[in-house]
């Protein structure tokens, strides 16, 4: 059964058409790219899939409670500058409804290790590099144990090494049943980490190509 399904979705912002008659379906463990030029409707599609916005026409179907099971990662790291690394990650937990201090610690600790942030818990975002900030943002998204991870140009502000690190970390989570949806200009990533590629142009789906490599072997 699809995690999220868009059925003939159209989205207008005032009089501007952002998406037109889009029908798409997303399955667990899928690794999906959304590509296309600026203004193609990538961000709009991500907002609809993340259930942050409603379509002007058509339907977005998702399981009840899915909103809390969606992790978001953006080009801008969007960290809270008055909270340290640990608090920033823990915030993701609390927003998803986990308030127990011990449970939060149990969720945050492994992510600190996986993201290479161990020892930086007390550091504030202003003292972190761009790559470190994006790893904190990724940890904050993943601490919610998301079933869907949505990344909007996640490597836009990163150097190639940090970008590769972020992709490989996200890739690990795809292997843990999380559906990952990545919007990107940089189409070379689709070659390095193959997956399903949805190409948008002027709000219309021009192509929707399945992964050239069998799932699980990417």
């Amino acid at each position: 059964m699809a995690l999220i399904r868009l059925e003939r979705v159209t989205k207008y912002y005032k009089n501007r058409l952002a998406l037109s008659d889009v029908t798409l379906s997303f399955e667990p463990s899928e690794w999906v790219y959304v590509t296309g030029p600026s203004g193609a409707g990538k961000s709009t599609l991500l907002k609809l899939v993340s259930l942050a916005e409603r379509p002007t026409r058509g339907r977005v179907e998702a399981e009840r409670g899915m909103r809390r099971a969606i992790g978001m990662l953006g080009q801008e790291f969007r960290l809270l500058h008055d909270r340290n690394v640990y608090e920033n990650i823990a915030l993701g937990c609390r927003i998803s409804g986990v308030w127990d201090k011990e449970e939060i610690a149990e969720r945050v600790a492994p992510l600190l290790d996986e993201m290479g942030l161990r020892g930086m818990e007390g550091i504030y975002p202003g003292e972190l590099s761009a790559g470190e900030k994006q790893r904190v943002a990724l940890a904050r998204a993943l601490v919610r144990h998301p079933r869907v991870l949505i990344a909007d140009e996640p490597t836009g502000n990163l150097d190639p090494t940090a970008a590769a690190q972020i992709f490989s970390l996200m890739r690990q989570y795809r292997d843990r049943e999380t559906m990952v949806l990545v919007a990107t200009h940089a189409e070379d990533w689709t070659q390095r980490h193959p997956g399903r590629v949805i190409r948008l142009e002027q709000g219309v789906v021009r192509s929707d190509l399945a992964s050239p490599v069998p799932e699980g072997k990417a």
Binding site: R68, R78, L80, D82, I95, S96, W99, D100, R140
Partner: protein, 289 residues
């Protein structure tokens, strides 16, 4: 850390980050609330004075000269039947003279007066429900119509005037309260609005992450409530100081009861809550987009 702990953490973060703003807000609110509390203290004083006046509710009914014992008994019986009469006491001519002599004390003056010119009288004490200006006056008016009654005297007019003054002051107090309520709402609202403005970036992030009421509104509501409650507390301390200072002199400004002060602090906190809520719900949407 549960929700409450998170809320306290956020509150502490805001209060410590915006110390100057919060201090200015608390001082402004305390000043405004102090005006109201001082006025309440004046009202308390006026009310107590009025109550004292109302306790002087006895009515003196002076009798015609030369009444027989049976006439006096008839009048006494009719007085007892008047609505609102609790008890009556007969004061004979001799008793009145003795009392007068005791009060004046100047024998030369008493000699000049000559004989006893004072009439006998009844002193009427009203029942509890009639121990006010209106009650006393109604008894007095009925007593005037009875036979053998020469004159009726009572302090009702003074009580009535004092009550009118008290009523007017209560009305002024209500208007003042409304003005001050608006003032507190304005100060809390402005403080909350400023606090939100300085944290718009964080708010955007939290909303993007899906943070709801607990993350976007509740911290500001708590801030408004706490700042206003602190202000009310400071106001009470200031009022207590003023009360103690004045008590050293001749002027006595009574403190309201502890229950009233507790209510004052509670209403202060509630105003803070409402003020910050208004600020949050009227926030321009474009700020949050």
């Amino acid at each position: 850390m549960g929700k409450l702990g998170y809320l306290f953490g956020e509150l502490w973060r805001t209060l410590s980050r915006h110390r100057t703003l919060c201090l200015a807000s608390v001082l402004s609110m305390s000043s405004i609330l102090l005006i109201l509390l001082l006025f309440m203290m004046v009202l308390t004083g006026v009310d107590r004075y009025t109550e004292q006046l109302e306790s002087r509710e006895e009515i003196s009914i002076f009798l015609n000269e030369g009444l027989s014992r049976s006439d006096v008994d008839v009048l006494a019986a009719r007085l007892r039947l008047l609505p609102g009469v609790d008890s009556i006491r007969f004061v004979s001519k001799d008793e009145a003279w003795e009392q007068f002599r005791a009060d004046v004390g100047d024998e030369a003056l008493l000699q000049a007066v000559g004989g006893n010119p004072l009439p006998a009288s009844f002193v009427v004490r009203p029942t509890t429900g009639y121990r006010n200006a209106e009650g006393v006056r109604s008894i007095a008016r009925q007593a005037e119509t009875l036979p053998y009654v020469e004159d009726v005297r009572y302090a009702g007019e003074w009580v009535l005037r004092a009550e009118q003054v008290a009523r007017t002051l209560h009305q002024i107090g209500a208007v003042l309260g409304l003005i001050i309520l608006t003032g507190v709402l304005f100060v809390v609202g402005a403080t909350t609005r400023l606090a939100i403005q300085t944290r718009l970036d964080s708010l955007h992030v939290i909303r993007t992450l899906g943070g709801g009421f607990m993350f976007t509104e509740a911290p500001y509501l708590a801030e408004g409530f706490v700042l206003a409650t602190i202000s009310a507390g400071i106001t009470i301390l200031l009022a207590r100081g003023i009360h103690d200072y004045l008590a050293e002199g001749l002027f006595h400004l009574p403190m309201p009861s502890n229950e009233v002060l507790l209510g004052f602090a509670g209403v202060g906190g509630l105003l803070g809550l409402v003020g910050s809520w208004i600020a949050v719900v009227t926030l321009p949407r474009k700020w949050l987009l």
